[in-house]
């Protein structure tokens, strides 16, 4: 007897541009006490499915075109809002992606956790508070009695997500909808949250519908997996079956294109190596196995074993410190010094990639920016090609700007929305006097675009007309427009779907080989860093805790922190 049953559900969005079939005829079910993972890339319809069930979609533009959602033998889709409210938060609870914005900053934690009990049940405040504190202990908040009286800003991101879970579970629901609950968290925190969810499921017997884009998380947590693609379910089944022998080409591609800690390829396979998408005139599409997928995969080269090219260091950083002053406001706390980068030494050889890993707030981004002099360093030396950068004025720095570039995390924010692609790419050339006239520069940017895999027809478009992956290619092209030799990649694939991420990583690899580029590759994702780097450094609290050859660090980590990080990475290879 299944707890939740979705049958032929269709949710369409009616927009001016036409009908968007966000959820198109999907069926699946969840049994009592089961964890089902719904996996898909952005736009696959996984969140829309969740929101449709609880009547949380704005209608219009959304419209449920058909199908049914039965929860405990009750049809949810036609239920009036008043009855739905009795189910929401009581029998079905939801937790969201961003724990920072989901808690009310003006209410004490205890008040927020007791609120759902007081709304849905006829109990006294004292009972509610006891239950709330009990639940806080269950989700692993130590010293719950005292901490219940504090405000959300006194909690870290991971702790807030635990509060969210406590809030969702305090009414003892039968089903928990978790929409990307760990996406915004660091790996070590994510590992702890996943563990808590598992033990809660065993303790309380709740069913969990876990929506995520991360296959690793699903493999770690779910009993069954539903894979969605463009509004349809392409495959569903037991977690083990799906990961061991996926049958649909999309799922095969999705599993293969994600770099793991044991990836040995020089270039990652992409979903396009497996899947052929045929789009018909009416907007529907047919997916089929790519005819030469085996041939394509066999062409993938084995990863070169970190060639010990004996080259002189291009960049040498020693004793670099970046401090920030915080507080000291009008009524604020006393001034504090935040040591974002606290005495870092590193060196990168020409043509190599140095990976920089660490969790959020460890100072890795600040370090990258300080090397490029986008952030003032307090002390230390930055020796670039035997020139000390730290003493240069911003004017003198301009000559080095041509040689050192940066690619940012968010391709949406890193392009000027009011410039066409042509303007964006030509401007750096004009500033640095590359090319002699317009037509000469235009020819150069056309070949540049080709190099990053885009056609000349895009030149006159604006950034918002592109997808995230395409925009990141444009950012790469802009960085290359000044013909640099060193590029800082600051979390440059972190905001992307795995299939797009694989393409961008491959692109960076190819460009490195062709132009002999040197990268400082900054990321929180250990598998991605391992795939990209020759050498790796691990940062924590502004300091380097470990550095060395990538292979060595990943196989024989020396520091406890590195070990903890490596253990926290969800593994697709099943250990259960």
């Amino acid at each position: 007897m299944s707890l939740l049953k979705i049958k032929n559900l269709k949710t369409y969005f009616h927009t001016r541009a036409g009908i968007n079939r966000a959820v198109d005829d999907i069926s699946f079910s969840i049994d009592k006490g089961e964890i089902v993972g719904v996996v898909g890339e952005s736009g696959s319809g996984k969140s829309v499915t969740c929101h449709t069930m609880l009547g949380l979609l704005p209608q219009p533009p959304a419209k449920v075109e058909g199908g049914s959602v039965t929860f405990d033998n009750e049809e949810l889709l036609n239920l009036p809002q008043s009855l739905l409210r009795a189910i929401r938060g009581k029998r079905i609870s939801m937790i969201f992606q961003d724990p920072m914005s989901c808690l009310n900053p003006y209410l004490k934690i205890l008040d927020q956790i007791t609120e759902p009990i007081l709304i849905h049940e006829n109990v006294s405040r004292e009972t509610a508070e006891t239950r709330a504190i009990e639940m806080m202990k269950k989700v692993g908040i130590r010293d719950a009695e005292a901490r219940a009286r504090s405000y959300p800003h006194e909690f870290s991101g991971g702790m807030r997500q635990r509060v969210m879970i406590a809030m969702a579970l305090v009414t003892r629901p039968d089903l928990l909808l978790a929409d990307e609950p760990t996406t915004a968290l660091d790996v070590t925190v994510q590992a702890r949250i996943l563990k808590i969810l598992r033990s809660l499921k065993d303790d309380l017997g709740i069913a969990v519908l876990f929506v995520t884009h991360d296959l690793g998380v699903v493999a770690e947590l779910a009993d069954r997996v539903v894979v969605m693609y463009r509004g349809k379910i392409v495959e569903q089944g037991n977690t083990r079956d799906i990961f061991e022998k996926p049958s649909h080409p999309y799922v095969k591609g999705l599993i293969a294109c994600r770099p793991t800690l044991d990836t040995q390829y020089e270039i990652l396979p992409t979903v396009d190596d497996f899947l052929k998408t045929e789009i018909r005139k009416d907007g529907s599409f047919i997916l089929s196995e790519h005819p030469d997928s085996t041939e394509r995969l066999s062409k993938l080269k084995e990863k070169r074993t970190s060639s010990d090219k004996d080259t002189s260091p291009l960049l040498q950083v020693s004793g670099l410190q970046v401090h920030f002053q915080t507080g000291g406001g009008f009524l604020g706390e006393p001034r504090k010094t935040l040591k974002a980068v606290d005495g870092v030494d590193l060196q990168i050889s020409s043509g190599q990639t140095l990976g920089l890993v660490g969790e959020s707030g460890c100072g890795k981004t600040t370090l990258g920016r300080a090397i490029l002099r986008l952030q003032k360093a307090k002390s230390g030396s930055i020796l670039y090609d035997k020139n000390e950068l730290n003493n240069l004025s911003q004017k003198e720095m301009i000559n080095f700007r041509k040689r050192m570039q940066i690619i940012f995390q968010d391709p949406y924010a890193s392009l000027n929305p009011r410039q066409t692609i042509e303007q964006t790419l030509i401007e750096p050339m004009i500033v640095h006097g590359i090319g002699s006239n317009y037509s000469n520069r235009r020819d150069q940017i056309v070949s540049l675009l080709e190099e990053v895999g885009l056609g000349p027809e895009f030149l006159l478009r604006y950034p918002h007309e592109f997808s995230g992956g395409q925009r990141q290619r444009i950012s790469v092209a802009r960085a290359l427009a000044v013909e640099p030799e060193f590029i800082v990649c600051d979390e440059c694939v972190s905001a992307m779907d795995v299939s797009v991420q694989a393409q961008v990583l491959n692109l960076l690899r190819e460009l490195q080989e062709k132009r002999d580029l040197t990268y400082l590759f900054i990321s929180h994702d250990l598998s991605v860093v391992k795939f990209m780097s020759d050498d790796v450094i691990v940062m924590q609290n502004g300091k380097i805790v470990e550095s060395g050859k990538a292979q060595e660090i990943y196989h024989q980590p020396k520091s406890d922190y590195t070990k903890e990080l490596l253990n926290a990475v969800p593994k697709v290879s099943l250990s259960k």
Partner: protein, 293 residues
């Protein structure tokens, strides 16, 4: 913008209003012709909107008044937008001490009642208007009466414009500060662009949208201020008229001759509505994203 019906409607109303006030006005009756035997005349073939308390043709007065009101709105807005964008963006972009000093100046000016400042500045500017009239008449041989009317109004335009940018500069500053944090600005720094280039090519174009909307909303505000000043006897002086003056005069006869208030009021509010719709449309048109959808 062509798709936005309200904005296009607003645009055409403004066009009609313009042609009425600036073209048709030259062909209608003298707005200052007093005829005390024919006061409060109802509308007729000769006087379309009837006549006022002094027997002057109301239609002609509305059109002539419109010239002053529309010009006050547009010129004062243009002056204040120009100052506000430059001042606000420099303040927001420079940050630190420069920003603090520039904003304290704005705070100081905001702390003094706006009308007091306008009156003082207008009085200062008006001191020169007599000299200016003489100079123009001598050197350019313009009509003396026309020049006199012009130099009476112009100080008001600039007094409003030179002081009306305060709020706008704060809006621009806030916008600039948020745009400045975006990664494309940092990318521009990393690419070695100069500060001026970053400010004028990357930051300011991105703050124009909200600025334009805000500034279309200030046009009615300036028209109102002109009316208030005229009411106090400090703004437009006879024989000039403006919508504000007409509404004020009409208000005296609210109980008996309500059309003296309603008709200028109708022109006034129609123009203000249209400006607001036009502002919305302009914002969409200036937003590359909305324009292409």
């Amino acid at each position: 913008m062509a798709k936005n019906k309200f904005a296009m409607g607003g645009f055409w109303v403004i066009v009609v209003m313009f042609s009425l006030c600036f073209i048709l006005a030259w062909y209608c009756k003298d707005p200052n012709q007093v005829n005390l035997t024919n006061k409060f005349a109802p509308s007729s073939a000769e006087h379309w909107f009837g006549t006022d308390a002094l027997g002057r043709d109301l239609f002609a007065r509305i059109l002539y008044g419109g010239q002053v009101s529309i010009l006050v709105g547009l010129i004062a807005t243009a002056v204040s937008v120009a100052i506000g964008i430059v001042y606000g963006s420099i303040s927001g972009f420079a940050g630190g001490r420069t920003d603090a000093v520039m904003m304290r100046i704005v705070d100081t000016l905001l702390a003094i009642p706006f009308l007091v400042l306008v009156i003082v500045l207008q009085a200062t500017l008006s001191d020169w208007s007599g000299d200016a009239t003489r100079w123009i008449v001598e050197n350019f041989k313009w009509d003396k009466e026309f020049t006199g009317r012009l130099t009476n109004i112009v100080p008001l335009f600039f007094a409003l414009g030179l002081l009306g940018w305060l709020t706008l500069s704060r809006i621009v500053r806030a916008q600039v500060m948020s745009i400045k944090e975006r990664e494309f600005v940092e990318a521009a720094v990393a690419l070695g662009y100069s500060k001026a280039r970053i400010l004028f090519r990357h930051v300011i174009p991105n703050v124009l949208g909200p600025t334009v909307v805000y500034s279309t909303l200030t046009v009615p505000g300036f028209i109102m201020y002109e009316a208030i000043l005229s009411f106090l006897g400090l703004g437009v002086e006879s024989p000039n008229s403006s919508w504000g003056v007409l509404i004020k005069e009409g208000a005296n006869f609210l109980e008996t001759e309500v059309q003296l208030l309603l008709l200028p009021g109708l022109f006034f509010s129609l123009t203000l509505f249209s400006l607001n719709f036009l502002g919305d449309g302009l914002r969409d048109a200036l937003d590359v994203k909305a324009a292409k959808d």
